[in-house]
């Protein structure tokens, strides 16, 4: 992507600065689009800024962002995880079973749900590494496998009698209308930022995505990085699952089937590359904000929920197209 034909040391220093501007332009562009869009929606639909709507919006945003993060961490090493939805629903049902079936305390149940997600992600990672088969195929198969296993074990029956305290997590607000679940998302985002910026394993994941061979040659444990990325993806799918359970106050086996599109939308809108090697945590967050506001706005403007998917697709095309054009333009005026 950014290959500067450096001739001397000063150029190398300048390269970082320029790359920062280019990346900031992406994030800034998204922020401007979000501001414009919310202004338009707020002026057309007065209900947009009502406390009730803001609560619903931030609650969806909190969950969609984590779903996006779950995909982003595997995209970091150039992999896919089509099983995000299946892992999410498995974590949901595991949490529900531990709470209702076994009557365990809430923290233990949540940990159990997260562990289920992480374990499934770890299995994906192991399968990808041990067989050397493309993660798209592996996770396509395990998505079916995990979902089937969940259905077999639960007989597709929901857990609806969860303790009331669990639902409090989903109902809590701060600063008036905002959903407290944003704190969970914020915590996850901060952790991922630190992981990919400062931690060794985070850098190794990115290196494995940028060039697996080069990473291997420079001594990075590529296989371990890939397994960690997949495990993390499963864990985050589990986090999203637990958040959904708290929101619905029930563990439903039908959740997760429609996670595929949002899981890709947020990171791709945010500038994360499919080929791996570069992720943007802030970008993914902004991508999720854009998707959530657009979705919410279309419903408020009475465009009809049937057209929402249509506009989501158009948005993805335009955003990725603009990004593409921007990087071409940047190259033409010699910024990279």
């Amino acid at each position: 992507m950014s290959e500067a034909t450096t001739t001397g040391p000063p150029q190398a220093a300048k390269f970082d600065y320029v790359a920062f501007i280019i990346r900031a332009a992406n994030v800034g562009g998204l922020a401007i689009i979000i501001l414009l869009l919310s202004t338009i929606i707020a002026s057309l639909a007065p209900g947009f800024l009502s406390p009730f709507n803001l609560f619903a919006l931030t609650r969806n945003l909190a969950i969609d962002t984590v779903i996006g993060f779950a995909m982003m961490v595997v995209l970091a090493c150039g992999h896919f995880n089509l099983a995000v939805g299946s892992i999410g629903v498995s974590a949901i049902m595991a949490t529900g079973y531990l709470l209702e079936g076994l009557g365990l305390p809430i923290p233990v149940s949540i940990l159990g749900g997260l562990a289920t997600g992480a374990f499934m992600g770890w299995m994906n990672g192991m399968l990808v590494v041990k067989t050397g088969i493309h993660s798209f195929v592996i996770t396509l198969a395990t998505a079916s496998l995990f979902f089937g296993l969940m259905l077999i074990l639960t007989k597709a029956e929901a857990f609806r009698n969860l303790p009331a305290a669990f639902n409090v997590l989903g109902k809590q607000r701060f600063w008036g209308p905002y959903s407290s679940m944003l704190f969970v998302t914020g915590f996850v985002a901060a952790a991922l930022l630190i992981l990919f910026k400062y931690s060794v394993i985070g850098r190794q994941i990115l290196a494995s995505g940028a060039n697996p061979l080069a990473a291997e040659m420079s001594g990075a444990p590529v296989k371990r990085a890939i397994i960690v990325a997949h495990t993390l993806s499963g864990l985050l799918a589990g986090v999203a699952g637990v958040m959904v359970t708290a929101r619905l106050a029930a563990a439903l086996p039908s959740v997760g089937a429609d996670w595929l599109l949002p899981s890709f939308l947020a990171p791709l809108l945010g500038g994360t590359l499919l080929i791996g090697g570069y992720v943007s945590v802030i970008g993914t967050l902004l991508g999720a904000i854009l998707v959530t506001i657009l979705q919410n706005g279309l419903v408020l403007l009475k465009v009809g929920s049937f057209w929402v998917q249509f506009y989501m697709g158009i948005t993805l095309l335009i955003a990725v197209g603009l990004d593409r054009w921007r990087s071409y333009y940047a190259q033409r005026i010699g910024l990279t």
Partner: protein, 330 residues
């Protein structure tokens, strides 16, 4: 030279193991389940096969190019409801409506191909977006209400015979044959596989990667549309949900059949056998009166087992070839 021919022969018959498993499953099923070989059951299976085979072919062509078409089901669904709508609302005759439906599929596939070829955006992202767009159009137009009144003529055609062969056998066989002829005999088909094998080398040998991408996606869209039309004939209604669950089988069949996701190598025979295999699994579980939930689990297991086996065989044959090369002191 002799050794090369031998290995290429082996490579060409890489569908033999799954054929063996499929035949074995048929024998076992026919022994343990008397209901299996009945005419009714076979017809039920063939009706499903008539759609799934075309869906698998639609995906296989793009896999041959080394890309993916996530929008196959969305194109099928959109064409299905437009096809049904044209006949029910506007009273357009069946052949004309089918023709227009196919043209819409061609247009959808062309849009996919053009977006990928001329913007340089990854095919996965483009077809993810157009999947959303085409599905959105489908639901926006129908508001998820099916068109129920399909002409008798259409259903009669679907259930009719061409000589001794029922149309439901005829449709997937002809499609597969045409796809095989296209991929392995037609220049554009060869270009698709060449680009899938090595885009840079193909471009250097004078093949336009852009045009090839356009052709592959257009053909894929056309086949997706055909699957949509056949679905309407099979179900007797034009339902907006047609195509919603095609994603998994569309990838499962070519991949079990030995296709390499990186492109350049696909097997029409293998894919067709894999379609039958998936169908047998579904049918076997149904006859055994297991819970339908088991289907997802076992399908996942089947895909995993098949790809792991394919992978293992590839590694083994590579090792063998390497040994041969070392033995000949090249």
């Amino acid at each position: 030279m002799k050794k090369f021919n031998f290995s290429s022969l082996l490579a060409k018959a890489d569908w033999l193991p799954i054929l063996g498993v499929t035949v074995l499953s048929i024998i076992i099923l026919s022994f343990i389940a008397p209901a299996f070989l009945t005419r009714t059951n076979l017809f039920v299976m063939l009706r499903i096969l008539s759609v799934t085979a075309i869906v698998a072919m639609a995906q296989m062509i793009v896999i041959g190019l080394g890309q993916m078409n996530l929008a196959v089901g969305a194109i099928g669904g959109l064409v299905a409801i437009l096809f049904g709508g044209m006949m029910e609302v506007y009273g357009i005759s069946v052949p004309l409506a089918a023709l227009i439906g196919l043209l819409i599929g061609i247009a959808c596939g062309f849009i996919n191909g053009a977006l990928i070829a001329f913007t340089g955006i990854n095919g996965f992202i483009v077809t993810l977006a157009t999947m959303s767009i085409y599905t959105g159009l489908n639901y926006g137009i129908t508001e998820s209400i099916p068109f129920y009144h399909m002409p008798e003529q259409l259903i009669a055609w679907y259930d009719s015979y061409l000589g001794p062969i029922p149309n439901i056998v005829f449709i997937p066989l002809v499609t597969a044959t045409l796809v095989a002829l296209f991929l392995f005999r037609h220049p554009w088909g060869r270009y698709i596989l060449a680009v899938g094998g090595n885009p840079a080398a193909a471009e250097l040998s004078g093949i336009s990667v852009r045009k090839t991408t356009l052709v592959a996606h257009t053909v894929s869209g056309t086949l997706g549309a055909l699957a949509g039309v056949v679905s309407v004939a099979r179900l007797g209604t034009a339902e907006p949900t047609i195509g919603a669950v095609w994603l998994l089988p569309s990838f499962a069949a070519p991949v079990i059949g030995g296709a390499v996701l990186a492109g350049g190598h696909v097997s029409v025979v293998g894919t067709m056998i894999a379609v039958v295999m998936i169908l047998l699994l579904e049918n076997g579980l149904f006859i055994a009166r297991t819970n339908p939930y088991y289907m997802d689990f076992f399908l996942g297991l089947l895909i995993l087992a098949a790809v792991v086996f394919n992978r293992w065989r590839t590694i083994k044959s590579e090792k063998k070839e390497a040994a041969v090369v070392i033995g000949e002191k090249v």
